[in-house]
């Protein structure tokens, strides 16, 4: 509870005590990030560069996905000291990753005071059957999804924000394109169905009927939808926005490039002006080397992170 709760003296306010961790404030923070770029950082110095470049939030982790991919081994939650240093170094929200199904890593991240927890396929899964029950947490969660059914299952478990997965650490935007198109296309298809067809749609999506009917009625997820996984250039980021994303996560694409500060600012600008090709052209000049990248088609199936999560 915040200072407001402890300092409360006015009896007229008592019937509705201030409440933290509500669905509205969890989903609300993601609303405030719309139109923005969330950047992966591995040091406090990188976090400051990201904030200076105009990131709406940073994702604190020990290794960017490209290094996790290159070095292999089990990828886990970051060191608490590293997260503390990053939280202390910026004024924007800080997110951090927990392994899929790792309830205790998520509890630790909440205790550390991060602003958002990413239950992420980029780390090695801790549970191959269940995701975390996210409702009991005060800290909101973002989860990855490759299709609408997966997104709705995560929302049912309490996710307050969804990001399409893409294929992290590749610099190849093709999977991100596929996943955002799949999710938005399935939403459009759902909206076109008659009410009596939604029962079977819910069965096929493996998602609760009430949530399916809500999405069919509103034509949108009930939470913010960002995109991730392979975004490396300003044009990539603008593409995601034109395809209907509310904002963009950029992982390895910034700090694996030749001039991270300039590229980060350029991606922020292209995300804000995603419908203005002249501005994107301007933002794309003089950025130096992009990250080298891996074509997803060359990745053997067991190395595809997007297939983690169910």
């Amino acid at each position: 509870m915040g200072r407001y709760h402890r300092g409360m003296t006015d009896t007229t306010l008592r019937p509705t005590t201030p409440s933290t961790g509500t669905t509205r404030v969890k989903r609300g923070l993601a609303e405030m990030l719309k139109g923005g770029v969330i950047m992966d950082v591995v040091t406090a110095e990188q976090a400051r560069i990201a904030e200076d470049a105009g990131a709406v939030a940073v994702m604190a982790l020990e290794r960017v996905p490209a290094d996790i991919r290159a070095q292999g081994g089990v990828a886990r939650m970051s060191d608490p000291d590293l997260i503390d240093q990053i939280v202390a170094s910026v004024s924007i929200p800080v997110m951090a990753k927990a392994r899929i199904g790792h309830i205790v890593e998520a509890q630790v991240l909440q205790a550390l005071g991060v602003d958002y927890i990413d239950e992420s396929e980029v780390l090695s899964p801790a549970d191959y059957a269940n995701h975390i029950d996210k409702w009991p947490f005060t800290t909101p969660f973002v989860c990855g999804a490759t299709n609408l059914g997966e997104a709705l299952r995560r929302i049912t478990e309490g996710a307050a924000m969804i990001r399409s997965k893409g294929e992290a650490g590749t610099g190849d935007v093709s999977e991100a394109t596929k996943h955002i198109r799949t999710i938005t296309g399935e939403i459009r298809a759902l909206s076109a169905k008659s009410p009596d067809e939604l029962y079977v749609a819910a069965k096929e999506l493996q998602a609760p009927y009430e949530l399916v009917t809500e999405v069919a009625r509103t034509g949108a997820l009930p939470v913010v939808l960002f995109t991730a996984g392979g975004v490396a250039t300003p044009a990539d980021a603008a593409l995601m926005m034109q395809l209907g994303a509310d904002g963009v996560f950029v992982g390895s694409g910034i700090f694996k490039s030749g001039d991270p500060a300039t590229r980060a600012a350029a991606i922020v600008r292209a995300t804000a002006q995603f419908d203005d090709p002249a501005a994107i052209a301007d933002a794309s000049r003089g950025l130096g080397e992009a990250m080298v990248g891996i074509n997803v088609a060359d990745l053997p199936a067991p190395h595809r992170l997007a297939q983690r999560g169910w």
């Binding site: 509870m1 407001y4 409440s19 404030v25 609303e31 924007i92 909440q110 602003d115 922020v268």
Partner: protein, 176 residues
């Protein structure tokens, strides 16, 4: 929210978008980012001119920060548009785990309390003499202030579906 109250709404992303706009909403978001983008897109100077010429503005959360003349706990290079004679403290409650919903008494809006969502919210600590405090926390810190046609809120009335501040803003626009 504004559309449901009968207003015509357009996004402002470039200076030309400001032509023909009678009032402005500066929404929630990260104030550091809005500051950078308004400068990068050449909006900061024309916005300051319009604000000092009396354009009604509703600023919520980050928007309140942008409207404030003075900031506490800001980045050293952070700038504002200004207009409200207040000192505003960023992230005054802490991180997201301290974000909360609460009822506020706002006598100017009638007896029914305002249900408000505070998300990594700022507060107003030193309102100047020309500033009217519309709502305060029980500890006295102001969370809704008005100076002329400028309305600044720490919280998000749109998140809880509260229309009365937007109605008040539209009344300023009609009167301008």
């Amino acid at each position: 929210m504004l559309r449901s109250l009968g207003a015509e709404v357009v996004p402002v992303r470039r200076p030309a978008d400001l032509d023909g706009v009678a009032g402005l909403v500066i929404p929630g978001g990260e104030s550091t980012v809005i500051d950078k983008l308004t400068r990068m897109l050449g909006l900061a100077v024309p916005l300051r001119e319009r604000i000092s010429a009396g354009m009604p503005v509703l600023g919520t959360c980050a928007g309140l920060i942008l409207l404030s003349d003075r900031l506490a706990d800001a980045r050293p290079d952070q700038q504002t548009l200004g207009g409200l004679d207040v000192l505003t403290r960023r992230n005054a409650f802490g991180g997201q785990n301290e974000s909360f919903e609460a009822d506020l008494r706002v006598p100017e809006l009638g007896s029914r309390p305002v249900h408000a969502a505070f998300i990594r919210a700022p507060v107003v600590e030193e309102p100047g003499e020309a500033v009217q405090v519309l709502a305060a926390l029980p500890d006295g810190r102001a969370v809704a202030v008005e100076q002329g046609a400028l309305l600044g809120l720490s919280f998000h009335p749109e998140v809880t579906g509260e229309p009365r501040f937007h109605e008040r803003f539209l009344a300023h626009v009609r009167a301008a």
